[in-house]
């Protein structure tokens, strides 16, 4: 097994902006990212969904690049762009032929320095976001399940428990003043990291960063926020109606160890043993052996992220769609038997070895790509950004695997016994409301062979 040796160079500008460069010249393509240390956890109360709405506003115009200009200039340089909002970060990124590097850095600097938006832009993007929510949540089977359903049941601190996509009344209440205040509070160079990956010489990249970003004044320190969860003492449960889908579903979430805490490595290995594809214990038992579930998925920070990209309370989540002839309680009992197994018996040497190999392989893939292959080095950018914003050390990337590969069976078993307990979990049931037009046909199915 070879050790990762990804080149990483870093500098901090006078205004506090951290710049991370990872050169690799095989293809004439460069990926540019700007990550801000603000996610939907910290959006203002009474403004649920605002961090994401604000992300849309960042594409609406800045002082030297008005409406659609940012998009047009990136596309017409031969590049693609997007942004996303997560628990603890909001990112903006472009992949372009490397001859467009300075143009893209100029565009990112312009919107970090001077966002210029008006009432018309805000009304337009509020409408766009509402259609995004309708499409992804209200008009889809299992829409928003479980990423919107579980947090309000599992958590007590508003930061972790509110509707991250936003109540429509809160989206309607958002004003241009809110936009500018949020920008001033969180979108300062000292609360961000700039990443340049691929076909860029570090000296040139740092020089361009100084030219375009260093004139941006530093902002005031970002206000301290308490995102901690009060201790949980008993299991929490909730129910949500499923308007379209025909199968009953449930999600189980256990509070997971803090990132880079002593149990973190064992948690990731436990997660892989439980949720790692068809060989994972949950799918193997519930879908393949007992044939209760039609599908199971899950993981730490599922389905929005992974074990590396959170910086506050997070859960290990399992999502189960099961056959209607099995009750919710029966399905949950079958899940609990899988959990009891990992508490009563340590992982065998062979299983632990397999799980570690797969974890290592998945990590390599996460570095290579992402976003369906069209955004080269998206994963590398994401790792480096999180190690910079959360740990102030992007070079942690090259040793990131080490701790996971040293985990022992005893550590996994001990963590399972402490973490996978009812008083540390929440369960949400998503129950179909409509009787489907077609009667359950398992009799016909079973008799057909």
């Amino acid at each position: 097994m070879q050790k990762l040796q990804i080149p990483v160079e870093t500098q901090t500008l006078a205004n506090g902006l951290r710049v991370v460069i990872s050169p690799e010249h095989t293809a004439p393509v460069v990926t540019v990212g700007v990550y801000y240390n603000i996610g939907f956890r910290l959006e203002p109360r009474g403004r649920s969904g605002f961090a994401h709405l604000f992300e849309h506003m960042m594409f609406q115009g800045s002082e030297n690049a008005g409406k659609m200009v940012h998009i047009k200039l990136v596309n017409s340089s031969g590049g693609v762009l997007n942004g996303s909002t997560r628990y603890d970060v909001t990112n903006y990124f472009e992949a372009v032929p490397s001859n467009a590097l300075e143009r893209v850095m100029w565009l990112e600097a312009d919107r970090m320095r001077a966002l210029r938006v008006d009432e018309e832009n805000l009304r337009n993007q509020r409408d766009v976001v509402k259609e995004e929510v309708r499409m992804n949540v209200f008009n889809q089977p299992y829409g928003g399940f479980p990423w919107l359903d579980l947090p309000p049941i599992a958590n007590r601190n508003w930061a972790n428990a509110h509707n991250f996509y936003g109540d429509f009344s809160d989206l309607d209440a958002a004003t241009l003043d809110d936009v500018q205040n949020f920008f001033k509070t969180y979108y300062s160079p000292n609360n961000a990291v700039l990443l340049l990956l691929g076909d860029v010489e570090p000296e040139e990249g740092f020089s361009l960063a100084r030219r375009h970003f260093e004139p941006i004044p530093a902002g005031p320190p970002v206000p301290a926020a308490d995102v901690s969860e009060p201790p949980q003492t008993e299991e929490r449960r909730g129910e949500v109606e499923e308007k379209f889908g025909t199968l009953p579903a449930m999600a189980i979430g256990y509070h997971a160890p803090a990132r880079r805490s002593p149990d973190w490595h064992a948690a990731a290995i436990l997660d892989q043993a439980l949720h790692g594809g068809r060989a994972g214990r949950i799918y193997r038992s519930l879908a393949l052996e007992k044939e209760i579930a039609v599908d199971t998925e899950g993981g730490i920070h599922y389905p929005l992220g992974d074990v590396f990209d959170y910086n506050g309370p997070i859960q290990m989540v399992t999502r189960i769609l099961h056959k209607p002839e099995h009750s919710s309680e029966g399905t949950l009992q079958a899940f609990d038997r899988v959990i009891a197994e990992v508490q009563e018996h340590a992982l065998g040497a062979d299983e632990l070895e397999q799980v570690k190999i797969k974890f290592r392989s998945d990590f390599y893939s996460s570095i290579e790509g992402g976003m369906g292959g069209y955004m080269p080095r998206f994963g590398l950018m994401h790792h480096l950004a999180c190690f910079t914003l959360f740990d102030n050390d992007p070079t942690l990337l090259n040793s990131a695997l080490d701790g996971f590969l040293e985990v022992t069976p005893e550590q996994v078993q001990s963590l399972a016994q402490r973490m996978l307990v009812p008083q540390n979990r929440a369960v949400v049931f998503r129950r179909p409301v409509a009787k489907s037009a077609t009667a359950p046909a398992e009799a016909a199915i079973e008799g057909a062979a």
Partner: protein, 460 residues
Amino acid sequence: MAAEVAAPISPATPRLGPERPVVWPARHAATLSCGLPVVLVELHNIPKLTVQLLFRSGNAATAEANPGLADMTATVVRTGTATRSGRQIDQQLRRLGADLSTSAGTDSSAIAVSGLTEFARDLLALVSDLARNASFPAEEFERERRNAFEAVRIERTTPGFLAGERLRRVLFDAHPYGVVAPSEAQVEAYRREQLAEFYAAHYSPGNAVLLAVGDFSAPALLVQLEEAFHGWGASSAPEFREQDPPKLRGRRVHLVHLPGTVQTQILTGNRSIPRKHPDWLPLTLANSIFGGAFHSRLVANIREQKGYTYSPRSTAHGMRRLGYFSISAAVRNDVVAATLTEIFYELDRMRALAVSAEELADAQAYMSGVFSLGLATQDGLAGQLAGVYLNNLPEDTLETYREKIRALSGEEVLAAARSYLDSANTQIVVVGDEAQIGAQAALFGEVQVYDAQGNMRGPA
């Protein structure tokens, strides 16, 4: 007017630097002794490799009698071979750090694996075993069929699926491309023997190509491939049977009624051309200007100016034998007519007026650049190669793509739009609540209403 949405470009905008040439990774093509063509490309970005064994037969091959049978076959292929149980396969994959995907599309089936380079030999042996010795265990088949049955039921509550299914039926009717998924009853009717028959007839070296991209030495991997696939016997795939697609004249509205929906899925389309057609590149360039990119006319109009939708998109679909052009948008219920008005305005503008030199140059740069981005990852490169080899395109298709796109003229784009963005005969599919959108939809043509199972409800 959508053209006014974009603000002017500042003179302070940095100019583009000199373009660096794209250096193509060396491609090694060979034919194994069993007759399987293989294409190998080294890409040493991570210590993994991707291997895709692709067969030129997909769901269209059985659409007439057994829709979805290729899909079902692919699903069950991974659950057992003569010497390995499904559980052993799943565990071995984990031991090799590998992900396996077995799937079928309209025109092809695939056994694709991505895993650690250090286990390349074992990965190839596994792919070979799945391609040659799948045993279709009865219990595994029954379980997967039940899961497919439940998946079909959920699909029929999904607006995007229902729209796509209806458009394909309307555009292709009795042609095999007219069916995209089985009904519940058709899933129930699958027999294990049918899967084995499809597998025997179509999973054959003469009907396949193998692509390998990743961190390996091509000559060494070629030796391992020969070892893994040595002795694989050939069979001949049955002849593909097809009927002519229908002649479509005039706009018609096809409303799939899904009660209680808070949004309407619009999907319009017309038949165009297959992937191998000489006009494919002008069509895709026209599509990029029309609605295939973030800065395109459609997105500027109905998203960035009017706020009707989050997700407008147009697509040129090039299949092996036929193709179609489509426009999709999920919109709030009260702007269905307004959105269709803008869609047809943009379609007619695209057909009536030449694109400006600036718009043409921007779109050429976009397509050329995005193409290069897709070559930087193992899966991205394998996907590009798959398009070439599954459609029997010329060997230099990828190498000449950028210069061909840049050589296209505004006249060629206009001609492609006039031929293949067929505004007058566009078929309009809307999936939503009839009570809320029926009257709006009827403004655009005669309405035929369907339920989610595909049953006609008679003219509204």
